[in-house]
């Protein structure tokens, strides 16, 4: 049934959008593809899962997971941006990739390499609306994702921190000259993107009831694709791209086969990039115009 598949795609898209936005912030502001974001996504899922397994409530479990991912993101900032900002632009990228491998393997050591069931207190609760079966945790996750994305948009376009970030995106030298504490502001951005990725991981566990050490890599590829498709650095572009990627993915699984998913998704992405190299809503539009 087409409508059901489209709804499933939409709900999955919310999580992709969070990851896409986490990538988009660092690309838009520092022009840097932060490869550690999949690790933070995974940590969000694994840490909240471990806390739930020990019998803690969902609120505390997610809060601890966010504290871990936010903290980890600030540590990564020290090693990718702060110490290496004067180095060749590929160095932070490699360093962030190092963090991805490090965190994934730490999780394999402590939690094993098998996928783990996510002991969500909501389980697979669902409601039926017309002929559609709607998973309540997925609906809630989608609503939370959307709220976070809108919040991010408001922060970037309407607040002092957002002005500082957009100013750094245009010129960190001028920002510094005007009195912006560039180091602290960039840390703030890393914290936000770490929290977005971590929340995405926890919501993924709550929605799909399974987490694993490599859950970040697959979702991150979709998130990067969503970001590129929508237009790098563009907040609404990340959301739109994520919806399209997730929709195509879900439709391919049900109408073609699950083996064909990656061929179709990335094939489509390649074609769209050929036609619209700046993405659907324009490259770096977050920095250049208000939507």
């Amino acid at each position: 049934m087409l409508a059901q598949q489209l709804v499933n795609g939409l709900l999955l898209g919310g999580i992709y959008a969070l990851v896409a936005l986490a990538f988009s912030l660092t690309i838009g502001i520092l022009n840097f593809l932060n490869f550690s974001i999949p690790a933070l996504f995974m940590l969000g899922g694994i840490v909240s899962c471990a806390m739930l397994s020990k019998g803690y409530g969902i609120g505390l479990s997610v809060a601890v997971a966010l504290a871990v991912t936010g903290g980890a993101s600030l540590i990564i900032e020290r090693f990718t941006f702060r110490w290496l900002k004067n180095s060749d632009s590929h160095i932070p990228l490699v360093s962030s990739l190092g963090f991805l491998i490090l965190f994934e393997n730490l999780v394999v050591i402590y939690f094993g390499s098998d996928a783990v069931g996510y002991p969500s207190p909501f389980g697979g609760a669902s409601i039926r609306v017309a002929k559609l079966l709607l998973s309540l945790p997925q609906l809630a996750s989608f609503a939370i994702s959307l709220a976070l994305i809108v919040t991010c948009y408001v922060v970037v376009t309407r607040t002092k921190l957002g002005r500082g970030l957009r100013s750094i995106a245009e010129s960190s030298v001028i920002s510094e000259m005007l009195g912006v504490d560039v180091g602290r502001t960039v840390s703030g951005m890393y914290l936000i993107s770490g929290l977005l990725a971590g929340m995405g991981g926890a919501l993924f566990g709550i929605s799909y009831l399974q987490v694993s050490w490599d859950m970040g890599s697959e979702v991150a590829l979709k998130g990067i694709s969503a970001m590129v498709l929508g237009g790098m650095g563009n907040i609404w572009g990340a959301l739109l791209g994520a919806m399209i990627i997730a929709g195509v993915e879900v439709l391919t699984i049900s109408y073609v086969s699950s083996e064909a998913v990656n061929v179709v998704v990335y094939g489509l992405l390649l074609l769209l990039i050929l036609v619209m190299p700046n993405g659907l809503l324009g490259d770096r539009a977050i920095l250049v115009e208000r939507m």
């Binding site: 002092k160 002005r163 500082g164 957009r166 100013s167 995106a169 245009e170 010129s171 030298v173 001028i174 920002s175 510094e176 000259m177 005007l178 009195g179 912006v180 504490d181 920095l287 250049v288 115009e289």
Partner: protein
């Protein structure tokens, strides 16, 4: 004394852009730094603002500020109108003005914004347009307004008349006069020697990174030392290259 620069040197790799320069700006006065292209004027201002690393001692309003971050220098009461205006093209005009007040935490930012719009009505009309829509002269006004939003005690201006139409040049210098009459101290770097000497009380001439001359501006205007120092006494330049 508001600003005191002692033995300031700036080098890029092995090239010395500013070499052992000492100068000062009195409270409420206008001082000007003159010199040809490449004399080190911009490096000097950037070093005072803390954007460029430098050796030497900087004192501002009774405190030693060498080693302070730019942000801290802005809070202490310095603001720079940079060379080439450097407004933020992706931010709106109003956001550019607000960026000038980034270090401020008081509640008078909104009323200062209103004052800037009174001072620059052209900006008020287009406050929500991106900075990129402005002409060169208007961008200069925005860059000055942005610096004033920091409520500085000392305004550093790097070639504010460069590339402007004669009308805007006059406007910039009128503004310098009126800002100074209201008590603001200004350190003005200029290539428009005549206008700068009229605006300032004290003048410095930089040549190849070194202080070549300093005097009361009225004296500078009368003497031909200025022309000699400014236009380049080739023998000294050669000596320096060989040294």
């Amino acid at each position: 004394m508001l600003l005191e620069v002692r033995n300031l040197s700036v080098s890029y790799g092995k090239v010395a852009a500013v070499n052992d320069v000492s100068l000062h700006v009195e409270e409420g006065s206008v001082a000007t730094v003159l010199g040809a292209n490449g004399a080190g004027k911009t490096s000097l201002l950037n070093a005072i603002m803390g954007v460029t690393r430098a050796q030497g001692t900087l004192r501002f309003a009774g405190q030693t500020i060498s080693g302070w971050s730019s942000a801290r220098r802005v809070s202490a009461g310095m603001a720079l109108v940079p060379e080439g205006r450097r407004i933020l093209l992706s931010l709106t005009i109003e956001e550019n003005l607000l960026m000038g007040a980034y270090q401020r935490r008081d509640r008078e930012i909104a009323s200062d914004l209103g004052r800037m719009y009174e001072l620059f009505p052209n900006l008020a009309r287009r406050r929500n347009d991106p900075g990129s829509v402005l002409s060169g002269g208007e961008q200069q006004m925005l860059a000055i307004g942005r610096a004033l939003m920091a409520r500085p005690r000392l305004l550093l201006m790097d070639e504010p008349s460069l590339g402007l139409s004669p009308l805007f040049v006059r406007e910039v210098f009128n503004l310098i006069h009126s800002l100074n009459s209201s008590g603001l101290a200004i350190l003005l770097v200029e290539q428009n020697t005549r206008m700068a000497l009229q605006a300032a009380q004290w003048g410095y001439v930089l040549k190849l990174g070194r202080l070549a001359l300093e005097a009361d501006t009225e004296e500078l205007m009368k003497s031909d030392d200025l022309a000699r120092a400014y236009l380049g006494d080739n023998t000294t330049a050669k000596h320096r290259l060989h040294a």
